[in-house]
């Protein structure tokens, strides 16, 4: 799946999803639980703001010195016998991986969850080359079995599905004949997937953080699938977005602590694994061959711009879990594998405004995302920044809006003009007013009054009252 997965426009996608009652209940429930857990985990530390500041300073330092740390990382991976490939584009990355797999005569690929491999459309490329590709994260597996349903959340990709839907999919595709109890469904997946792990030639993982000083990569899961993917197949290929590097284990541990708390409210997830190179001399398990693919795919174009801070992201989805817009429209409405506030900032940067220009407007700029971000990305400010670019640099706003805003610029800068406008508006609206309310507004007001009452302009504006009472002090 590439980053963009829908041909419908934003409004239609949103309408579809708003009418999906199950999805909305699931998302609301998940948000409430995760919100509470995250707050508890933060409160327990007592000095969460200091943790956030530390996370921020680490990520900012890395981005400012990204070339150095990637150089150091690659040196140390190679020193331990790993093979590093720097991929400028999605295609370069996926073609390289396909070539490695073909050279190894790999037929069966097991994957642990990785957003960047979705971004580079890796599964399709490998499948076209005749490989069987199996997603092993339970959520990703469910989506894959269900004819490649797109993920709707960067941490819990199958959040939009209910247990009955999953049972039906398993029954149809996996000969499943038990109930829709999550335990039974998960056990079935365990049994199916354990066989796949043991039989696979190639393991492909993402990378939560790469550690420059030691040439290590790390994988954070609760299920343990990333451990299996990296312990059993003979060849391991790890794919990372180029920004996901940290200087050393000292910074790694801080960011992992921030990640697991922010994502799921856990102090650490069940498994955090740091892997350095292929298996060591004399080792029996672990890969014989280790490849690290470092992907740019549009990220370098974000560096040095007003959007640079978005690359601080550690993919915890805390912003998604507090977003009141995501709450109602779910992940699929975004039309991108990256959904929620981080998706609304990142997708237009990586995928362009042609496909994603609506996303920055799908926000009330309420700031909940910014507040939740463990590395202090000013997400709502970046959404606003997108709007500014769309309007002022790209000139993509509708003419009527541009004219209205121009008029605003003039009218709102002088009291006489404003007062004149207010009087005109007041007079124009009077015939529409009933019981101090306007229920059917004209022009732009219609969008408001389709949903809500609009208050009538008062008989006396505040300023007129004030002058009357206080003599215009």
């Amino acid at each position: 799946m590439a980053m963009k997965f829908s041909t419908k426009n934003f409004t239609d996608r949103t309408k579809d999803n708003i009418s999906d009652d199950f999805m909305r209940k699931a998302v609301a429930g998940a948000q409430e639980r995760l919100h509470g857990r995250r707050l508890d985990a933060a409160e327990e530390l007592g000095n969460w703001e200091e943790w956030r500041s530390h996370g921020e300073e680490i990520r900012q330092h890395v981005l400012e010195n990204l070339d150095f740390y990637l150089h150091q990382l690659s040196e140390n991976v190679a020193e331990r016998g790993g093979r590093v490939f720097f991929a400028k584009t999605a295609e370069e990355a996926s073609v390289y991986i396909r070539d490695v797999v073909e050279k190894k005569e790999g037929k069966k690929v097991v994957k642990s969850k990785s957003m960047v491999t979705e971004e580079i459309n890796l599964n399709s490329v490998l499948e076209e080359a005749g490989c069987e590709v199996i997603e092993t994260d339970l959520g990703e597996y469910i989506l894959q079995v269900d004819d490649h349903d797109p993920p709707s959340h960067i941490v819990a990709p199958a959040l939009h599905k209910n247990r009955d839907q999953i049972r039906d999919v398993f029954a149809e595709k996996l000969d499943y004949n038990k109930t829709s109890k999550p335990e039974e469904l998960a056990l079935h997946a365990r049994e199916k997937l354990r066989k796949e792990f043991l039989a696979a030639d190639i393991g492909i993982t993402g990378c939560n953080f790469a550690i420059a000083e030691t040439g290590s990569i790390s994988l954070v899961t609760n299920e343990g699938n990333a451990r299996l993917v990296s312990a059993l197949p003979k060849t391991q290929i790890t794919v990372m977005g180029m920004e996901r590097v940290v200087p050393s284990f000292e910074e790694f541990e801080v960011l992992v602590s921030l990640l697991t708390r922010s994502a799921v409210g856990q102090k650490l997830t069940s498994y955090v694994t740091a892997l350095t190179g292929p298996r060591g001399e004399g080792d029996v398990d672990g890969p014989e061959e280790f490849h690290l693919v470092i992907v740019d795919n549009g990220r370098s174009e974000i560096l040095g711009t007003e959007f640079q801070s978005v690359l601080q992201c550690i993919r915890c989805a805390a912003c998604v879990n507090v977003c009141p817009v995501y709450r109602h429209i779910g992940g699929h409405s975004y039309g991108s594998i990256y959904s929620g506030p981080i998706g609304a900032v990142l997708s237009p940067l990586l995928g362009g405004y042609d496909d994603f220009k609506e996303l920055p407007y799908a926000s009330t700029l309420c700031g909940a995302c910014t507040d939740a971000c463990p590395v202090k990305i000013p997400l709502h400010e970046l959404l606003h920044q997108h709007r500014q670019v769309i309007v002022e640099e790209e000139g993509r706003a509708p003419i009527s809006e541009r004219l209205a805003m121009k008029a605003f610029g003039i009218g709102a800068s002088s009291n006489p003009l404003y007062s004149m406008g207010a009087k005109v508006a007041s007079t124009a609206m009077r015939p529409l007013t009933k019981n101090d309310r306007i229920s059917k507004g004209p022009g732009p007001l219609k969008e408001w009054t389709d949903l809500r009452e609009f208050p009538a302009v008062g008989n006396q504006r505040f300023r007129d009252w004030f002058y009357d009472q206080k003599g215009g002090k």
Binding site: V77, L187, A274, L275
Partner: protein, 238 residues
């Protein structure tokens, strides 16, 4: 064995250019303004750390069993029975002998027909197969993080990754002396290794309870790909 690096120069030059400067060849990590991690459980005693671990185990669905050094064989034997007996998969680890478990492993369990497989590099891939068939995997903890309830396992040729991963159940033996406040101290340990010129192990696992998933309706399911149950046996060795 040295690996390879491809396409690096143009890639990194592009980054430097975007950042508006020449490529950087040397960067000193700054002294960070904030270091909140150092304050967590800063002056806690071993007993206080143990208390933190006890509480944390309740959160992570992990049984915690406390025992004296002299009782460890008995405790471990009971735990193995509790989780359904063998086959067992063990690291090859001198600590089993040091903690008085040799008799249990070499005599008592075999006498009870409990199959024990210690990691043996000469068997090659057979080790993985045996771990996969095992009912319980047993390892020591190299470092134990009280705050999160985590055992840190440093793998090596005798200490395969599979032992804590493939069996249906997992038991970690935790010498009380391995307790530290949190993952910060694990990073310090790695720093020490680097400073001593040692290589970082090819695989370091931070394991916090059994495998689990909340991918179906956010319902917690314990036991997905890794062990279905996890238990910690704390040995009072200090």
């Amino acid at each position: 064995m040295t690996g390879t690096i491809r396409n690096r120069d143009t890639f990194l030059t592009e980054i430097a250019t975007r950042l508006g400067r020449e490529p950087k060849l040397n960067v000193q990590k700054p002294v960070w303004k904030h270091q909140p991690q150092r304050a967590v459980l800063k002056d806690a005693s071993a007993d206080e750390l143990l208390e933190v671990l006890r509480n944390q185990c309740l959160q992570i669905h992990t049984d915690l069993i406390e025992t004296k050094l002299a009782d460890l064989p008995k405790t471990l034997a009971e735990a193995v029975k509790l989780y359904g007996g063998g086959p067992l998969s063990l690291w090859k680890d001198e600590r089993f002998d040091k903690y008085g478990l040799t008799n249990l492993i070499e005599n008592e369990w075999p006498a009870e027909n409990i199959e024990v497989n210690s990691w043996d590099t000469t068997l090659g891939e057979k080790n993985i197969e045996l771990a996969e068939q095992a009912n319980i995997g047993i390892t020591f903890s190299d470092m134990t993080l009280a705050e999160s309830g985590t055992v840190v396992l440093l793998s090596s040729s005798d200490k395969g990754r599979s032992v804590s991963l493939l069996p249906t159940n997992y038991i970690a033996i935790i010498p009380k002396s391995t307790l530290v406040p949190r993952i910060t101290q694990a990073a310090d340990l790695i720093r020490e290794k680097i400073d001593n010129g040692e290589q970082v192990p090819s695989c370091i696992n931070f394991i916090t309870g059994p495998s689990n998933s909340a991918d179906i309706e956010m319902n917690l399911v314990i036991g997905v790909h890794g062990p279905v149950k996890a238990a910690y046996i704390i040995v009072n060795d200090c």
